[in-house]
Symmetry: D3
Subunit: 209 residues, 6 copies
């Protein structure tokens, strides 16, 4: 189990060696892991500013500064759980629906191995295949969604899938138990009061801050 | 009236087309407008860091992200008011007094057409010609001035006009009803306690935050 | 005709007013134009670094520095030709094939009006719908292609359309008269000598520099 | 005494002349000064991001915006105290221990001349020679330490001196009266609960915020 | 004379101490100098991008990397000539004509002291007061002008003085012996062939590159 | 052998997965390798601008754009040689001499395993331990040194080791066969003609460009 602890900072400076999430070990062999950090370098669902395809690598670089012990909670997560960086999903940079299939398959494989996936995106459209993978195995789920937008639009330029629609699609596909969904941090401006109709109709609560 | 609504975002992506303030229509014909957004690309009154001559164009670019409905106030301003981007004042980049004449003339034309001007600067010296245009038509005005400086210096290197003097000039020219002027957000450091003398002598209130 | 000359720089500073390509007039009415500058803000065909969706707007901003007379050639293009900025194609940011349809339609409309389109992208996948629009009206064309890559790959992650395949698709669709095609500036590294097979088989010449 | 006031801003624009700390006069002759601003351009004790060797010069540039009167406290510090920019310590960019000797000597010379040194770093390892210079003349001192880390590690890659160890060394060298030391702002993450052992053992208080 | 050599780089690291041009000594006492480096932090004559008011300070910072011996010419200029950084002209950031008076006065004082001024701007309008100072003492001069523009326009928004007019004004004021003037590097685009008329009429030669 | 080819770009987008040099496989097991890419993230020998400690990671990121076939030379290096990214040397960020020991040991281990080390620095002081490792095994070597400086100074602030001295140390330690050393690209400015004395005395040739 010791090989799943972060790199010993007294042996290797933090800026040295290949960058992994929080300097955790990298492995493709997930057997025995408790948690897998999985990158999803995809921004093909962005309506405005792309670039989050580079996010998993950048987060690997910058998370080198994180240390393993939280003095407020008095816990060393990586002593308690076996955590590793399992690399990235091989997304299809040009195809959002093919990417969804690849993401659902990769996450599903982790779930089937009893490993908790902790995904690092990527744009918000990716929440849909993540929910599909989970729900297909465990049934509809509640959700605490922290965001400034509801991401429940109907479509965008005729596209059913982009970063503004994942939770409408999730409701339509029966992935969410809407009574147990709450959206926190919602704020405007939006296009019209009607933007909130879908959530209202489906009994989803939200908190404007 | 419908042509004065912002571009339909389901037809044109927000990053497409010529940039206008908040994606509003651009027109030079102000008849029938309620509010005109007017750029003033001038920084010749800056004592330290110039560059705000590029501000109207940059604000046009970045305001593409604004959406038309405010869910907290439950209002769609562009449904209630006819608002347009009427372009920029043709300032004189090298001459502050000539620029003041041009600004006063442009803003005055809007006022004469019963259009409310909403100006996007530009450096703070421009408040003086704006006040001149308004006061010449409506008489002295009160003012709520939100700033960290009073902008009531006497002069700067022998210049009566720059971004640190507009409100002293405004008082001297009788443009402000000083009993109804309040300056909010004033803070130091300044050069000396005497920097506040002009406001004190003229009965202007200010709030140090 | 005079309204299609660039803005008079002695009336309006170059950093003022809404940005158009080279400060040319903006119009949606193309009748009587000789040349139309048309933006195509699309980067959904990029395999590596997206962002060219913002290129048309940025080029509008920065081309304000261009002046209208070329002293080497002793020509003022905008005196000889009526040129205007006709805005952008309303692309589909999430859908490359739908975008191709929109681009072909917009460019075709210009061609039908006897206006020469001069397009400002956008990623290189857009060359395909441009060729389709031209060839459908004029038959197969020769091409001088200045690039460091041939953009003649077979596919990318199963996608037939992206910025590495437009000219293979063009050959397959019969859009190019391959005897009259030359590619200038081609250089490596590439993936294998076989990357050049398609051009070789089709009699396309290229110059490695 | 008047020569130690900041440059008269009505004579010289703030962006003009050689940059000194807060536009104060520069002198190497410290006789008669009350406070000396002293740069220490050294970052050889940084374990992660170097670059603070450029900090004294950058702070000189950017502090040009500071004005001499504080209206909240109603004080003009440079009227009350003779303050000057006395330049930088000539550090040894490659040698941390030689740099410590040079810093202690420079600061000691100021103390011997009855001038209060106000040092502008530079990385946090420099606190050790500063304490040495003071304590050698005045005996052990209390300390209010505002930081997010305690900087009381044992060593780093075998080095006793770097920006994570100065206060452990200071305690070991008897420079601090630990009963009168408080560290404010300490927060995680750290490496282990044991990181706090040294402070605990030595009766040093800290406040986690 | 030795005090006018650059700082000894074996005593002070190059990034340390107040920044002066090429690490030369700073003095206001010009007696005995051969060459004076004089900053002119003014950009009030810029028609497009201001900011060169910060240039003298930035050039001080970055010229720290220059070393004193030129191995190609086998000369150490600062051994042969007494050179110092004499600070900046106290320009008037808001007033171009007042700035011209200040520049001419400062440069004239150096000339009167038999010191060669080497000025670091600042925008190109400043060439006019420099020529005035020289010509008033020595009579009309020839000029080798390396630039991409002739800077011989008539005016700009009604202003006789800005960075596009200095050499037309210089000819009009009789400062240049036009037979001995050559402009190297001129290129387009410009506004019209007529832009070259003034030079043609006055017998000035130029080289388009 | 196939596992030492670069990642198959038709399976994984170039911006995905942990970054390695040129997307080569990462391994700590060097047996059977022909060439090992080894990072040395150390900048403690820099006299001016530090930061190259981050270079190996940044080069890993950006070299993702390199493809495996060179069409000019008609060679695929990674088909001919087994090449891998073997990670970084665990340098001592605060100690240059300890770092030299670590570098020499790491490089020596590769040499002993008959693997050609290809090192990615890091500042230029690191050439010294690299030469030591090679020469200790193979005897004095010739050298083609491409640089703008000779890096043959005597010392810097009393330090024998920094990025300006490695080749003087190398000559003194007998590591270089000076008859077979040539330095290409040398240019000024330098401090004095005497800067070239050491090379002259030792019969080293250099080319000023």
């Amino acid at each position: 189990m010791s090989e799943f602890r972060p790199a010993d900072s007294f042996r290797s400076p933090r800026f040295a060696q290949l960058a992994t999430f929080m300097r955790l070990p990298h492995t493709r062999d997930v057997a025995g892991l408790d948690v897998a950090l999985l990158g999803i370098p995809f921004d093909g669902g962005s309506s405005y500013r792309p670039g989050s395809r580079f996010a998993p690598r950048e987060i690997r670089q910058h998370s080198s500064l994180i240390r393993p012990y939280n003095p407020a909670l008095q816990v060393s997560p990586f002593e308690v759980l076996r955590v590793a960086d399992v690399g990235d999903v091989d997304v299809n940079p040009i195809g959002i629906e093919d990417t969804f299939v690849r993401v659902e398959r990769a996450v599903g494989a982790l779930l089937d191995a009893q490993v908790i996936p902790l995904c690092v995106g990527g744009d918000h459209s990716l929440s849909l295949p993540l929910l599909r993978a989970v729900v297909r195995r465990h049934g509809p789920v509640g959700m605490v969604h922290v965001d400034s937008h509801q991401d429940m639009w109907e479509e965008y330029f005729g596209n059913k899938y982009f970063h503004g629609t994942p939770f409408r699609r999730a409701v339509e596909e029966g992935l969410l138990d809407t009574k147990r969904v709450v959206q926190i941090g919602i704020r405007g401006p939006v296009y019209a009061e009607a933007d909130f109709d879908f959530a209202r109709r489906n009994g989803i609560r939200w908190v404007i801050v």
